[in-house]
Subunit: 190 residues, 2 copies
């Protein structure tokens, strides 16, 4: 691992509580491909761990099956780089459990960073966040699925980044693409 890898920065993909299209609070489904792609992005940029957050037991089991297929099953032999990426993956019931897990592993509660379209008192631009992260304090990047994170999570965050905006009236990036872009903006070598 490269010396300056941000191994005390962690990433959580949250499936509850998030909004659906009708702005109701729901638990979204885990997308197998998100797990693979985001694990590879986290591993490439040297993040410490990747948490899949869902309270649903069947969904937790699904993630467990994906991970164990690549860690110990046929997949481990067939594709060892996939194994290396998925080694970072953990499953938790809730964002509170993720924070508690990091606290236990690092001895400190992580600062939380989220993205939101509106401006908040904790809003920060990407360049300033990139510098903030060089302090190497435990940090958790939190991403929502579905139609976005339930708003109390945003209000409690330490830092709020703007979502990725393109150059068109169309803003429908897959979450795995938005995460790749944001992690590159924060940690990419230019």
């Amino acid at each position: 691992m490269v010396e300056d890898s941000p191994s005390n920065v962690h990433l959580a993909l949250v499936h509850f509580p998030v909004y659906n299209k009708a702005k109701e609070i729901v638990s979204s489904s885990v997308t197998t491909l998100d797990v693979h792609d985001i694990a590879r992005t986290c591993r490439t940029f040297g993040l410490g761990s990747f948490y899949v957050v869902t309270p649903l037991k069947t969904q937790q089991e699904l993630v467990g099956r994906i991970v164990s297929h690549w860690l110990t099953g046929y997949g481990a032999e067939y594709n060892p780089t996939r194994k290396e990426a998925l080694l970072l993956t953990r499953v938790e019931n809730s964002l509170q459990d993720v924070v508690a897990d990091i606290h236990e592993r690092c001895g400190e509660e992580p600062k939380t960073v989220i993205t939101a379209a509106k401006t908040y008192p904790q809003s920060i631009d990407y360049e300033s966040m990139r510098q903030e992260l060089q302090k190497a304090e435990p940090t958790l990047l939190v991403f929502g699925t579905g139609w976005g994170l339930e708003k109390s999570i945003i209000q409690r965050a330490d830092f709020v980044l703007r979502p990725i905006e393109g150059r068109s009236d169309f803003n429908h990036l897959p979450v795995r693409a938005a995460i790749a872009i944001i992690v590159d903006r924060l940690f990419g070598i230019r």
Copy 2:
């Protein structure tokens, strides 16, 4: 569409000629998800079109079925934003055919931009390429699948960018994640 959208910049995802793991020249398979994700990335950043390049008729038909499902089938009604993204998608036999198509549509042959790990006389950094693209000349961003583009394509390119490097010894980003990062580096609003 936003005024400064790079609508004369196009993107090609090439399935032949590319290398396989054993460094043989092969035709890789089209991945349905690449088509969806890359179309959404192109649409978000305002690119003009997204070419899927494969000489295999069955693979061309597969792309045609994906696109028509979302453009005219049940999908168009179910998910209109998906339709909007896939409107950009075109299928061609070869990179030469893509260049000819752009020439015909724009009245000019596009400059080609590729990524490669080695340094070439045409190598350029991202910031300079970003400025180069503001000239608004027809440009084609070319990406390979499998284990990378056949080397003569690289030698003939007008510009060569370095691939995305993370902060670890692991460099296995999905092509759809690498494309999202590169398009953001070239066109993202910061």
